[in-house]
């Protein structure tokens, strides 16, 4: 525990994230806030996916399911049962985790590509189910009444509140990732990634560890799903269970370096920056997907360990500061 608390990496990371979060607040800049909202959201998505993907080695294409399910549960209790934002966030997080725990008990028995395929299937099942489930509004989804924002001092204030909460969640995701990486539990996950059969022989309760990792990875996406759709004011199936976005989060982890704490953060920020600069450039606007694809291909073919992995390999001195 001492080793974790005294780690320079942990404190540098918290300070940087907190500085990023207070920057738009200090300058009172809503445009910057919206840009950073997306980046922080993707950082949390990438950090949480990294627990099951990076440490445990299970390729999950359905990470967005937790985001969508949490969002739906949260918006449902807010719009229909008139709950507040905080209880809704807790409902979203716990709902997503419980779902992951039950689902994990079934699908984590599958290995390798079969697991990856099953997660694609889960995502599409949820997408199709949400479109038919009447309490969640079917294909049109749910819309928050504008009056709800009055409780938080009007729409403008509510957006700032959502951003501040997201920033807090991102910092929690960072700390939690670091603790998991340094814990015995995290070590167990990495053994599963390297050789699951050997892990079992060594006495690691692999089904339990895998399921705990899966459940843990679902909690924060469930919460930020509520925040994101609270900010948007409505939720519909296509946006909640968007497979493309799930894969984009995967790409971010690969870009930064999987199985590290800083990798998903750097990958998410880099990817989002590259994408937004490509979209606003009139010359490259229509080609942004092509360029992102070429970039991804180049990383996979030539730097498969990602930016952070590459730096750690080349400059051993920074390893203490770049976990």
């Amino acid at each position: 525990m001492r080793r974790i608390i005294l780690s320079p990496f942990l404190w540098i990371g918290i300070i940087i994230l907190a500085a990023i979060a207070t920057w738009p607040m200090a300058t009172n800049n809503p445009t910057l806030r919206e840009e950073l909202f997306l980046i922080l959201m993707f950082i949390t998505m990438a950090l949480s996916l990294n627990i099951i993907l990076g440490y445990t080695g299970y390729v999950n294409f359905g990470h967005i399911v937790f985001f969508g399910l949490g969002g739906y549960l949260g918006i449902y209790v807010m719009s229909t049962l008139h709950w507040g934002l905080f209880p809704a966030m807790i409902v979203g997080g716990i709902g997503a985790s419980v779902f992951a725990f039950l689902l994990g008990a079934a699908i984590l028995r599958l290995r390798g590509a079969y697991f990856a395929l099953a997660t694609i299937g889960i995502n599409e099942t949820m997408l199709a189910l949400a479109g038919n489930f009447q309490p969640f509004g079917g294909a049109t989804g749910l819309t928050l009444n504008f009056r709800i924002y009055k409780l938080y001092g009007g729409a403008g204030k509510a957006l700032w509140l959502a951003f501040a909460l997201l920033a807090a969640v991102t910092i929690i995701a960072f700390i939690a990732s670091f603790i998991i990486e340094k814990s015995k539990f995290g070590l167990g996950l990495m053994v599963i990634r390297e050789d699951e059969d050997a892990a079992m022989v060594m006495g690691i309760p692999t089904p339990l560890f895998k399921n705990l990792a899966y459940t843990a990875s679902a909690f924060l996406p469930g919460i930020i799903g509520v925040l994101y759709f609270f900010k948007n004011g409505n939720i519909e199936p296509g946006e909640a269970f968007n497979l493309e976005m799930s894969i984009e989060v995967l790409v971010m982890i690969m870009l930064g370096g999987f199985g590290t704490v800083s990798g998903p953060i750097i990958g998410a920020a880099l990817y989002e920056e590259i994408r937004s600069s490509l979209i606003v450039n009139p010359l490259l606007q229509s080609m942004h997907l092509v360029i992102a694809g070429l970039l991804l291909l180049a990383i996979i073919l030539f730097v498969p360990i990602g930016v952070v992995g590459w730096i750690r390999q080349r400059v051993p001195a920074v390893r203490r500061y770049l976990e």
């Binding site: 080695g57 079969y114 395929l117 299937g121 038919n132 294909a139 690969m254 999987f258 694809g293």
Partner: protein, 290 residues
């Protein structure tokens, strides 16, 4: 809801015919999976490329849609070999995630380029072969019957190629045990490239056939890619012939469900079936190489 026997038969027949084309698409995916353990996430993009290839050939060169189908298929063979050498060869031995992402990158490049060139507006190939009656009010569109026959023919040719020719046998040998095949003097790199080419040929060919049946746009591929996954799992990943049966099952389900409930429930049932089969019998209903 009352069920009309004639309507039921007609929609089942319709579903089965489309099932042949679905099966053809899935065969491309499952062949690649079987031979090199790569889940090709560019499969949907390649299907769309086949659709637009056929559209261009018909609209710009005035070719018959079935001639376009042949040309597009052959182009697919070459494109597949090129994709293999650029995006697959280097990472073949890497963990699954790597090949999943490298094929996804290919998909992004194709879809991105396609969106820039064609936008996402819907297209269709204006082509009609009239209706063919099977008596009792069970009518099917001529284009669907023709597409099913072509798909069945390609399946037969693929079967003959894999089981009766020397190269086809080499593909099956590499699929079975690459190291042993190499020891027997089979050039596995060329065989893998050829397999990826054939997989792409099947994807683009099925795209060209689907284009004669339904309207489509540059993003339609993901629907058929997911159907291919479902079929691949139904028929057994790595079992091309099982794919045809899987395709027929999926077509049957798609013909059956609208008679009993809202059409929007079809994907729910398809994907639930997909997940359940993965859990209960991951080797597929008809077995596979492992």
């Amino acid at each position: 809801m009352t069920i009309n026997a004639n309507v039921l038969i007609a929609s089942l027949l319709d579903g089965l015919l489309i099932g042949f084309v679905y099966g053809l698409a899935a065969m491309g995916l499952t062949l690649i999976w079987g031979v090199m353990d790569v889940i090709n996430l560019s499969h949907g993009a390649l299907i769309v490329l086949g659709m637009f290839g056929a559209l261009l050939a018909v609209q710009s060169w005035g070719l018959h849609p079935y001639i376009a189908f042949i040309i597009v298929s052959i182009a697919g063979l070459f494109l597949g070999v090129i994709i293999y050498y650029i995006a697959i060869r280097r990472v073949l031995e890497a963990p699954e995630l790597t090949t999943l992402l490298s094929t996804f990158a290919v998909s992004m490049i194709i879809i991105g380029g396609g969106t820039a060139a064609f936008t996402t507006s819907p297209r269709n190939i204006n082509f009609n072969l009239g209706t063919i009656s099977f008596g009792g009010g069970a009518n099917v569109l001529g284009t669907k019957l023709a597409a099913a026959l072509l798909a069945a023919m390609v399946t037969f040719l693929l079967y003959m190629f894999l089981y009766k020719t020397r190269i086809g046998k080499s593909i099956r040998a590499v699929s079975n045990n690459r190291a042993a095949a190499e020891l027997m003097g089979i050039p596995s790199m060329q065989i893998l490239a050829l397999s990826f080419g054939i997989g792409t040929l099947l994807a683009m060919g099925s795209g060209a056939l689907i284009a004669t049946l339904f309207p489509f746009n540059i993003l339609s591929g993901s629907v058929y890619e997911l159907k291919s996954f479902v079929i691949g799992v139904l028929g057994g990943l790595g079992n091309p012939i099982g794919s045809l049966l899987g395709g027929l099952i999926l077509g049957f389900i798609e013909g059956l469900i609208p008679n009993f409930m809202d059409t929007s429930w079809t994907p729910v049932i398809e994907f639930a079936l997909f997940v359940i089969i993965l859990l209960v019998k991951p080797q597929g209903l008809f077995g596979s190489k492992d």
